[in-house]
Each structure stands twice: as structure tokens, then as C-alpha cells.
């Protein structure tokens, strides 16, 4: 069958990007998937390691623990600042917007360095505490799980703010007015009306943040100092430091499966709240 001209132009517009991604992204990923069952030997040995090897298992547990903590902290913190961004006076809105967008546009690397500048042995906090005579020797605040959580939360708050803010903007002011007219206190209005109405935004934000945390690599590598290794960093280490490409590939495949499952959940449950959340 010959193509009619309209079909040809349609293909010229629509096809290049999907075709490019198919060639340079999807097909190479299949290569990775093949590594996971052929390296070093043919079989599912690498996937058995994911559930059986104590080292891999401990990394997996730590990853889930850190991701869950970061998700809870980021969404809670984002809720507070999004609330002021959406419902504050105009001046408050401006300040909140700046506090959200300036870190958002600055690279993950710079921000991880900022945490080092704040927390390391000769950093800002230790220098101040020592100058004030409160401590004799510097507190060790980096290269542990807490600093990884702080650094990751810092990166992810803005990502949680966007869906939350769009859920908050969608709340009908008249409902709040009705609640007040019926005699509800400020706290009651927030707790029984506003919070439930923005709950889909909370779920959406939590899923987005959790999906992002799973693949996090730069921040934990810098602030964890090789001690609090997470799944993504394990991939890097197995690629470049103590090579076990099959294991790195198996972890990658597992991450993709988990993330796709979570995205399916996101679209199933929180789609309305996310409409228009893209900046």
C-alpha cells in the first residue's frame, strides 16, 4: 500500500523521536536485560543473589528504609511550604516560591557539596559550635545515613511541592467557607476538610518522590561516603569498582520493574491530582 502525503507528513512529525528512543534507549536496555541472565553464566543466578546474598539484601533493606524515610519527610516538609506558597499573602508567596525554586534549579552536585560545607568536620556548624565553646572536637555529621537522608530530602522537597500545590489550588474555596459557616475551627477546617481534599495530591507526591529516591545515586555517594550504599550506587560500584556486570544489570532490571509498577499505581490512583502539575 502506498502512503498518502498526509500520512507521510504525520510520520515525519511524529516518528523521529520514538524511533530514536527505540534505537538508542529501549534496544540497549534489552542488552542490559540480557547481561542479567548471561553474566557470568547463563541462568537466574544474579536474581537469586538479589534475594539471597546478605550484602545485596542489606543494601536492598537500607534502600527501602532510606527511601521511605525520605519520602515521608519530603512530603511533610513540602506540604508545609506548599501551603504557604498557595495560600499565603502575596509577599509570603514570593518568599516561598524563591525558597522552592532556587534549590530546584541548582544541581544535585552543588547541593550535596552544600551539605558537606554545612556538616563536615571543618564545616559551618562545627566551626560555629567550636567557636561558641559548646564542643571540643568536631561532631561527625557526614558519611552516615542521616546526612544521606537530609541531602536527599533537600533534593526531593521541590518535586513533592509541585503536585501538592496543584492539589491545593484545586480546592474549592466555598467548601472551606461552608465549613467555617457551620462553626468549624481553623484546625478543624484544615484537618477535616482541607487535608482530606488534598489527599490525592499527597499520594501522588509520595509516589513521585519514592520513584525518584529509588534511582538516587549522586547524593548518597557523596554524603554517604561509601558507607550507606544504596541500590543505585551498588550498580555503579559493580560496574566500575569491583565489576560484576551481571549483578548490576539484574539490579537495573529489578529497579525498572518496581518503578513501572509504582507508575502504574500513580496513574491509577492519583491522576486527577496531577493534572497540570508539570511546571
Amino acid at each position: 500500500m502506498r502512503l498518502r502525503t498526509p500520512q507521510l507528513t504525520q510520520i515525519l512529525f511524529t516518528a523521529p523521536l520514538p524511533v530514536l528512543l527505540l534505537l538508542v534507549y529501549v534496544i540497549p536496555f534489552l542488552g542490559i536485560a540480557r547481561w542479567s541472565v548471561t553474566m557470568p553464566t547463563l541462568g537466574l543466578g544474579q536474581y537469586e543473589k538479589l534475594v539471597g546474598d546478605p550484602l545485596v539484601l542489606s543494601v536492598l533493606v537500607r534502600t527501602v528504609r532510606i527511601c521511605a524515610t525520605v519520602t515521608a519527610l519530603s512530603v511533610a516538609a513540602a506540604y508545609a511550604i506548599a501551603y504557604v506558597w498557595v495560600r499565603g499573602t502575596r509577599w509570603q508567596q514570593r518568599v516561598a516560591e524563591l525558597c522552592i525554586l532556587v534549590p530546584f534549579w541548582i544541581s544535585v552536585l552543588t547541593r550535596a557539596f552544600g551539605w558537606l560545607a554545612l556538616l563536615s568536620n571543618r564545616g559551618l556548624i562545627n566551626t560555629w559550635l567550636q567557636a561558641a565553646g559548646l564542643i571540643d572536637s568536631p561532631l561527625s555529621m557526614v558519611r552516615n545515613e542521616a546526612s544521606v537522608v537530609a541531602g536527599m530530602t533537600h533534593v526531593l522537597i521541590p518535586f513533592a511541592v509541585f503536585p501538592l500545590a496543584s492539589a491545593m489550588r484545586a480546592v474549592d474555596e466555598r467548601v472551606l467557607l461552608a465549613a467555617r459557616g457551620l462553626g468549624a475551627s481553623r484546625l478543624r477546617i484544615f484537618w477535616s476538610v482541607f487535608l482530606p481534599m488534598t489527599a490525592p495530591g499527597v499520594i501522588g507526591a509520595a509516589l513521585i518522590v519514592f520513584v525518584f529516591t529509588l534511582g538516587f545515586f549522586v547524593t548518597p555517594a557523596i554524603l554517604g561516603g561509601g558507607r550507606s550504599i544504596m541500590m543505585a550506587e551498588l550498580v555503579y560500584l559493580r560496574m566500575f569498582q569491583s565489576p560484576d556486570w551481571g549483578l548490576g544489570a539484574a539490579v537495573s532490571v529489578m529497579l525498572v520493574v518496581v518503578v513501572m509498577g509504582l507508575m502504574a499505581a500513580l496513574f491509577r490512583f492519583a491522576r486527577p491530582a496531577l493534572m497540570g502539575s508539570a511546571r
Binding site: 504525520q10 512529525f13 511524529t14 516518528a15 523521536l17 520514538p18 530514536l20 528512543l21 538508542v24 534507549y25 540497549p28 542488552g31 542490559i32 508545609a80 511550604i81 501551603y83 504557604v84 495560600r87 499573602t89 509570603q92 516561598a96 524563591l98 525558597c99 522552592i100 532556587v102 534549590p103 534549579w105 541548582i106 544541581s107 544535585v108 552536585l109 552543588t110 547541593r111 557539596f113 552544600g114 551539605w115 558537606l116 554545612l118 571543618r122 564545616g123 559551618l124 522537597i157 474555596e173 472551606l176 467557607l177 481553623r186 534511582g215 545515586f217 549522586v218 555517594a221 543505585a232 550498580v235 555503579y236 548490576g248 544489570a249 537495573s252 529497579l255 525498572v256 518503578v259 508539570a278
Partner: protein
């Protein structure tokens, strides 16, 4: 009209969050003025040593120029591809539009480390075919950055297209405009700000990309973030503090400028 403004409890919490967001950025400032060669607070004497370093050290200059080049080329290619794709989907509304859009958004959803491994696999493979586009080359990095940033451009352009009145396009079509006339003379002028912000976003994302770049470069294509990574990871170089201050100041000024420009609209 907002009925209920945030009360003292909400404001206190939000202030705490704001401080948490700003403190690590502010902590970089005093450290950038230290005269020492390692990460420390200036001990009485302040110095511009590390700012000089940024200008004098050829490594930094090379890194900045390389990142600029990759960022600009990535921005043009990714925005172009995203624009053609989004226009095609918008004008023709193909039957499997949702699947297609989901497909091109994959690199944004898949964890960066998985994309990094995938692109490493691709580029080491390409290296055997051509030494021009491959592992540790600037074109290889550009290709990887296009893949990683193109979903963001697609999203931003679709957001802009969602605000275009379809009746304008229908009118043009009714008056006999060709597809190209509709695309370039009717639709494009209506979404030009969306396209520009997509190009800017892609540039910034490429400029600061490290997760993938780390996997696909070693000694030749050393972008600015790659250079910073070496300075943060191996031994902490205060020149990074100076560079960070410069980047933070530029970002803040751009955002303040944008806010000032938006003011007349919202007022």
C-alpha cells in the same frame, strides 16, 4: 480570594522548611572565601584564591566550555525532536497517542542509574563502529543528554499546546493552510514561550547532568559536573565552593528577574 491565610503554626513550619532548603546553599558562601586548600571556614583571613583558580585553571575553563557546547547542542536537538513529536501528536491525534507519549517519557521515569547503564552499553557498542560518537566523546555525551532531557521538553511543549485554542488551527485548515503552514505560522507562534522554556530547561538539565555522564565519560569528555564530581568525591576542593557560589548567584538572579517580569500579569 483566599479565605484563610496560613496561621502561625503553618508559618513556623514553613519557615523551618525554608531554612532547611536555604542553609546548605548559604553554607557554601563563607567556605568559598577560605585561603586554605581544603574544605574549611576562613579563619580570620578571607581570600579570593579559589575564584582566581576558576579563571586561571585551564581545567575549569575547558570543563565550562565543553558543558556549554554539549548543553547548547543538546538543547537544539532535544527541543527540535520534542517539538516535532508534540506537534505531530497534537495535529493528527493518532489512535495510540497516550501510549506514544508514555513511551517518549520513559527516560524521565526510569531511574537515572538504569538509563546510565543502558547508555553506557549503547556508547561502548557505538565506539566499536565509530570513534566519533561513542564512549567518552562529546557527541556521545550529547546523544545521552538528548535522551535524558527530551521527555522534559515534551512535557513543557505539551503544557503549552494544551493552552492553544484548537479553533484557530481549524480555521487555518478550513482556509486551506498546509500542514507546514499550520505548524509554523499558526501553532508555533502561539507556543513560542513554551518552546523557549523547554529549550532553557533542556540546557540547564544537560549543563548539570552528572548521573549518566559519570558512566559514559572518563578522561576526554570531562564536563563541568564531571570535574566537580572529581573535586567533591576524591578530595574536597574549595574551588567547587567558589563555582557553586557563582552558579547559585546566577540562578537566583534569573529567578528574581523572572518574578519581576511576571509581576504585571498577576497584579
Amino acid at each position: 480570594m483566599t479565605l484563610q491565610r496560613p496561621g502561625p503554626a503553618a508559618l513556623t513550619l514553613a519557615t523551618g522548611v525554608a531554612l532547611f532548603l536555604l542553609l546548605p546553599l548559604l553554607a557554601v558562601v563563607p567556605i568559598s572565601f577560605t585561603p586554605a586548600r581544603f574544605l574549611t571556614m576562613p579563619n580570620g583571613t578571607w581570600s579570593l584564591l579559589h575564584y582566581r583558580d576558576l579563571i586561571d585553571n585551564p581545567d575549569w575553563i575547558a570543563g565550562i566550555l565543553l558543558s556549554l557546547r554539549i548543553g547548547l547542542v543538546t538543547s537544539v536537538i532535544a527541543t527540535g525532536l520534542a517539538l516535532a513529536f508534540a506537534l505531530g501528536v497534537w495535529m493528527y491525534q493518532p489512535r495510540f497517542a497516550a501510549v506514544l507519549v508514555g513511551f517518549v517519557l520513559l527516560p524521565m521515569i526510569v531511574p537515572p542509574v538504569v538509563s546510565a547503564m543502558t547508555l553506557y552499553f549503547l556508547l561502548t557498542g557505538l565506539s566499536q563502529v565509530s570513534s566519533l560518537v561513542g564512549y567518552d566523546t562529546w557527541l556521545g555525551v550529547t546523544l545521552a543528554h538528548v535522551v535524558m532531557t527530551v521527555p522534559f521538553a515534551v512535557v513543557l511543549i505539551f503544557v503549552a499546546l494544551a493552552q492553544v485554542d484548537r479553533r484557530i488551527d481549524l480555521a487555518a485548515r478550513g482556509l486551506g493552510a498546509s500542514v507546514l503552514q499550520r505548524a509554523f505560522r499558526i501553532i508555533l507562534p502561539n507556543i513560542r514561550f513554551g518552546v523557549l522554556s523547554a529549550a532553557l530547561m533542556v540546557f540547564v538539565l544537560s549543563w548539570e547532568e552528572i548521573g549518566v555522564t559519570l558512566f559514559i565519560t572518563s578522561v576526554n569528555a570531562v564536563t563541568l559536573p564531571r570535574l566537580m564530581w572529581m573535586g567533591v568525591h576524591d578530595n574536597i576542593d574549595p574551588a567547587i565552593a567558589a563555582l557553586s557560589v557563582v552558579l547559585i548567584v546566577i540562578t537566583t538572579l534569573v529567578l528574581l528577574g523572572r518574578m519581576a517580569l511576571q509581576r504585571p500579569e498577576t497584579a
